[in-house]
Amino acid sequence: MAFLDIQHLEKAFGAMRVVKDFNLGVEKGEFVSFLGPSGCGKTTVLRMVAGFETPTSGAICIEGRNITGLPANRRNIGMVFQAYALFPNLTVEENIGFGLKVAGEGKAATRSRVGEMLELIGLPQLGGRYPFQLSGGQQQRVALARALAPRPQVLLLDEPLSALDAKIRISLREEIRRIQRDLGITTIFVTHDQEEALSMSDRVVVMHQGIADQVGTPFEIYNRPTTRFVAQFVGSLNLLDANVVDAAAGKVLLGDVPVSLNRPLLGRSGERISLAARPEIVTLGRSDGDHVVLAGRIADVHFLGSVIRIRVAVEGGLLSLDTFNQPDRPPPLLGTPVEVSVSHRDLLVLAA
């Protein structure tokens, strides 16, 4: 059994089922992200773990102990909110020391732990300030320190970076991950930002309409999405409509161009499917070996600086591809006939 074990968790608000048969095991010290569009139930799952919502059914266990019925203030779980939720009437030090005071920790022990936390978040000189005297990024760091000070078993963060501007978001992202690693604390991080989820997590749970669509490492999620939703939500994706000609031999028809995938497909012959390819695995020009080569015309060129994003119209749809800028090679002109290549292996097959 995992350190934090969520089994068959369900939540309904009235007739609306918001979380459906959610299962997850989080290992001790692991950093897991919940990734999904707004309204898919991420916060609801997190709030059930924290004890702010009661599950309709299912169980939540920490170290084998069932905590499903335990009130939030007896769970020993730290929580960081999107809106910081610092106590406005308390100083930074008092905010961080709040949980220790509740736990009946002595004055000296509290002071030294608060000092330690201030060091950890890199704000040792701001202990006497009030929250309104801090920037958003500083407030969120204090909120993190406050949640960590009483040494919780699990740390929950609900879109903690969403209210911050881009630069701070990235630096704080790295800082949260560093602190999490230093303390080895089991963490669930909720976000709708795929870059955040991919860059920070040991594992990512992609959620869709209350269901955990796929659970895996960022590498797996990105390269081997198991559902169409995951493939489309994580990263950008080219989708081409195709018809299965021979499932066993892996032959499909893109428009009227026959393509061989060199592997058996799950679909039946005659079925419509989608072929999916990430922009970075599509290359301009003909590649030999196990590559699918398609003919098309340049439909669009976006010069982004270091990267040039090109769209090529082929049978079955538009293909986006990225190439690196090379000073001696200007981007192709619109309408130029070109060939593009994709490796068989990297071409994903999704239900249409």
């Binding site: 939030a72 203030n73 007896r74 020993n76 730290g78 009437n89």
Partner: protein
């Protein structure tokens, strides 16, 4: 000066005179106790009157108790209504506004009917009972002001998040209310408290009908039996009320928590 400004000034001046002239007149009158000289003699007489000291002291204590009891009732109620039963808010607000609609005399007659000496709970029969009845009555009278100001204060903070943050740090309800919620609505509670103070200090109907010697009945008795002292008393009462209003302003402006909200 443009025409528009002229009319504005005229309106303001007229309004100001409407309120100030009687006050000035009263103040002037209260200074004429000694023939042929302006003096504070009336004030001296009033302040030296043991019955003034006794009734005023009584009313101050009663006002403070009313405030404490009001806070104990209103803050948790307003908090839980906002947190857990937001749908009930209009109903609760309507109930707290009832004392403004129902005349105090009706309320106090209701009390006397329910709690008279031949009832199950004969509160009016004893000194303690009468005082408790008066205290509860004053809490009811103060509800519209207390509830509104506390509720307004709660609106300015994110009570749901603050509550959850405190809970996840292990805090129970008592601590959340006293350490997290109350300090953050302190200014609002104070403004409700000062209004309550002003109301209780001068209240007459409840006190008279329950036969309690508080400051209100004392002022009325003075008014019926003396010439200059009542004016002095009225000026003193006004000064107290205004001091309360001034304190509300002061706290609102200089409290750290009000800076927090900006």
């Amino acid at each position: 000066m443009t025409g528009k400004r002229f009319w504005s000034w005229l309106a303001v001046t007229f309004g100001g005179l409407y309120f100030l002239l009687p006050l000035v007149g009263m103040f002037d009158f209260s200074m004429r106790m000694q023939r042929g000289a302006y003096s504070f003699e009336a004030y001296r007489v009033v302040l030296a009157d043991p019955r003034f000291q006794q009734t005023f002291g009584y009313s101050v204590v009663l006002a403070l108790l009313t405030i404490v009891l009001g806070i104990l009732i209103v803050v948790p109620t307003a908090y839980f209504v906002r947190l857990r039963f937001p749908g009930l808010r209009p109903i609760i607000e309507f109930i707290t506004l009832l004392p403004l609609v129902i005349p105090p005399i009706v309320i106090v007659f209701g009390y006397i009917r329910i709690y008279n000496t031949s009832s199950i709970l004969p509160l009016t029969g004893s000194w303690w009972g009468t005082n408790i009845l008066l205290l509860f009555g004053y809490v009811v009278l103060s509800l519209p002001y207390m509830y509104r100001s506390v509720d307004t204060g709660l609106r300015t903070i994110d009570i749901a998040s603050l509550t959850e943050a405190a809970q996840s740090l292990g805090a129970g309800w008592a601590r959340i209310l006293t350490v997290v919620i109350l300090p953050n609505v302190f200014v609002s509670v104070l403004s409700g408290a000062f209004l309550t103070f002003a109301i209780v200090i001068g209240e007459y109907v409840f006190a008279a009908l329950l036969n309690v010697n508080s400051f209100g009945p004392y002022m009325v008795w003075m008014g019926g039996n003396r010439a200059y002292e009542p004016s002095a008393l009225a000026v003193i009462a006004f000064a107290i009320t205004w001091a309360c209003m001034g304190l509300i302003q002061l706290f609102t402006r200089f409290s750290i928590f009000s800076i927090v909200r900006r």
